[in-house]
């Protein structure tokens, strides 16, 4: 620029941005590898309990999720605040779990069906009653491998 030229005399060479795409692509690949697709929109408030002996979920494709907790603030006007069960993208009753498990099982290969795991993601303040109902339905649907979602902590 004219002003700079007058003052400094020498022009500063422009910073090359040729490697910027490469840098961004690197970050992009990092995110693609280390994250997973968000599958459902949460309709329940869910704060996982904490535990020390947690194990990581092995194969994501074999896991189906059941969310249990009070409806989110946006849904509370319609649904109240008592805990609800969310399957896929809507609130369901415990009786519909059998159907849900059957459809999840149909998505898997024949060989993988026995290792299907159901992950119960329940809010920490939920009462056991609703969770027991879910567990009974899972037993009835013969989905016996379950996992209680919990965050890793250092203990009490």
């Amino acid at each position: 620029m004219a002003v700079i030229k007058k003052k400094g005399g020498k022009e500063v060479p422009p910073i090359s941005t040729a490697s910027l795409p490469d840098v961004i692509f690197m970050i992009l690949f990092f995110f693609m590898v280390s994250t997973t697709m968000r599958e459902v929109d949460l309709l329940v408030i869910f704060k996982a309990p904490e535990a020390t002996e947690v194990q990581k979920m092995e194969k994501k494709s074999l896991v189906s999720y059941i969310y249990i907790g009070p409806p989110t603030l946006a849904q509370q006007a319609k649904w109240g605040t008592s805990p609800r069960i969310q399957l896929n993208d809507s609130y369901r009753s415990a009786a519909e779990i059998g159907e849900f498990i059957a459809s999840e099982r149909d998505k898997l290969d024949e060989a993988d069906r026995n290792s299907m795991t159901t992950c119960i993601k329940a809010d920490r303040d939920t009462k056991m009653g609703i969770i027991t109902d879910v567990k009974q339905e899972l037993r009835r649907a013969n989905a016996l491998k379950i996992s209680y979602a919990a965050a890793k902590s250092q203990g009490y």
Binding site: P21, D125, K127
Partner: protein, 193 residues
């Protein structure tokens, strides 16, 4: 020829960064970072109410754990704090002094482990319908901890290193030898809040 002398124009890569940014932002929004973790359990298979005549288990082989509607913990009829549960469960499963009131044990031969002791103890976990889930998970966690410590002890005795450092076959053998014998009874509906 005239065509040969013409240079192919360079592709303008100036917008590459913008495209990459766009993709990056899409992935940032559409994906989640958290790795799911949890406490794994296996539910008992469904049985019809009519044919519920399970073989009777001896009184000494059962550790009754009950979590009340007010999140108190009761083990064998005594109220205890959750910090005591792990040691109780461990003592019950190991029965170190061959107490006649604690579970029976038997020696089992195994290809990988050699001979080792297997307890016949079963932990029966009952929770009220009004127990909070957090307490229930904490109790499950303590029971898992007890079993993991027992497995570690066996592993150190047999292989000289904890379970985490064993090969897959060895780990499988240890997990097979000390089964997670937690039985979850149907919940009671007492003292509903």
């Amino acid at each position: 020829m005239a065509i040969n002398k013409k240079k192919t124009p360079e592709v303008n890569a100036g917008s590459m960064a913008d495209i990459a940014f766009l993709l990056l932002i899409f992935f940032l929004v559409a994906t989640t970072m958290n790795v799911d973790s949890g406490i794994n359990r296996t539910l008992p298979p469904w049985v019809d109410e009519e044919q519920q005549d399970a073989p009777p288990i001896k009184e000494r082989n059962i550790l009754k754990v009950f979590v009340s509607a007010y999140d108190q913990l009761m083990v064998q009829g005594e109220q205890i704090h959750i910090s005591e549960l792990k040691d109780k469960a461990k003592e019950f499963m190991l029965n170190p002094y061959d107490d006649p009131n604690l579970p029976e044990k038997e020696v089992v031969e195994n290809d990988i482990l050699g001979s080792h002791v297997v307890s016949k103890g079963v932990i029966s976990l009952k929770a009220d319908r009004s127990t909070t889930y957090n307490t229930y998970v904490m109790v499950q966690n303590e029971l898992s901890r007890a079993f993991n410590e027992i497995r570690d002890e066996l592993s150190i005795e047999k292989f000289g290193k904890p379970v985490a450092e064993l090969t897959d076959d060895q780990r499988k053998a240890v997990n097979e030898a000390i089964k997670l014998s937690i039985s979850e009874a149907e919940p009671r509906d007492l003292g509903a809040k």
